[in-house]
Amino acid sequence: MNIEEKLWNYIDGSCPADEQQAIRSMIASDEAVRLKYQELLDLNAEFAAIEADEPPMAFTYNVMEAIRAEQAQKPLKAAINKRIILGIALFFAITITALLVYTFAHVHLAPADINSAIPSALKTMRAQNFLTRPVVNGFVFFDVVAALFFFDAWLRRKKKLSSI
């Protein structure tokens, strides 16, 4: 460490007490060191007097406007209060439970007659009856739209993360 570095540390007060004492005596005894110390003191005062730059007049307004605009753009799902969602969930849970209780209370469970035959008119369900061409087309179309929607959402999220 050269003398200039030591003097700067002394000026900043970032050197240990014993070193401070040593530098103090050097300044007192050595004329060259004293001159250097005075020069650095002047520089230090000059550096401390550097003026901070003034931002434009509308700076605060622009920042707050940008924040307001960002908040206004928040997606709906982020703006919804979680309590509302919980309330809706609770309503459905109570309704379903009440319905189940009511149903079971009115059902008379009697042992089945083992000998009774299955009615011949009972029709079995066939998948082919439901999987018609328009249904399949509609299903595929829906899947494609859903896939594109999720892909778009994923890309937006990725872009947002990379911009932070």
């Binding site: 550096f47 901070a52 434009p56 700076f59 605060t60 707050m64 924040i67 960002e70 932070i164």
Partner: protein, 193 residues
């Protein structure tokens, strides 16, 4: 009335939904944040963009501010990272102080200062000119130390460095600033003769 509140109190108010408190925080720190951004960006337009971006980022992450350090230290760390990202985007090499290209680039930027009349120039003008010629890291350390009221440890926290590294960098930055100031003053004296 709000200006009497501390930074921490203003943060609590902001988190409670009072945006006016954040306006107060911005007003309180904007001058220094802008100055620090200007050390990296060199143009006022870019510095304004960086500073604005910093305040928006700080607002977004305000809830994560633990209060273990000063708000200003936390804010300056955002300024530093945002400015570094800005520089990276601008493809400026700020790593090596001996980089010839960077030196030329920085030297060229200073020519814009020469348009002022000699008689209007004061010592502080030359000092600002010399700071403008420093590399961004050096200029930022000088600014943080003298204008940001930050200790070496706090500067280290803001810039992601050890306090001892900051100490060495501050010493070198001061030396370079002194050299550039002397060179500029000599140059001016020659021009006047």
């Amino acid at each position: 009335m709000q200006s009497k509140l501390s930074d921490l109190e203003l943060i609590q108010e902001t988190l409670g939904g009072n945006q006016a408190a954040y306006t107060e925080l911005v007003k309180r720190h904007q001058r220094f944040v802008f100055t620090l951004a200007l050390r990296f960006a060199k143009s006022r337009e870019d510095a304004e963009e960086i500073a604005q971006d910093c305040f928006i980022k700080a607002f977004r992450s305000l809830a994560s501010f633990q209060g273990q350090s000063k708000f200003s230290t936390w804010l300056y760390s955002i300024v530093y990272t945002t400015s570094m990202t800005f520089l990276r985007k601008k493809r400026l090499n700020t790593d090596s102080i001996d980089d010839e290209n960077t030196y030329i680039q920085v030297e060229n930027q200073t020519s814009a200062f020469d348009i002022n009349n000699a008689e209007n120039k004061s010592r502080s003008f030359y000092l600002n000119q010399a700071i403008g010629q420093l590399l961004p890291d050096d200029a930022a350390i000088i600014t943080l130390f003298y204008k940001g009221e930050q200790s070496l440890e706090e500067i280290g926290r803001a810039m992601g460095m050890e306090a001892n590294t900051v100490k060495v960098k501050l010493f070198r930055a001061r030396q370079r600033l002194k050299e550039k100031l002397e060179r500029n003053l000599k140059q001016e004296a020659k021009e006047l003769i």
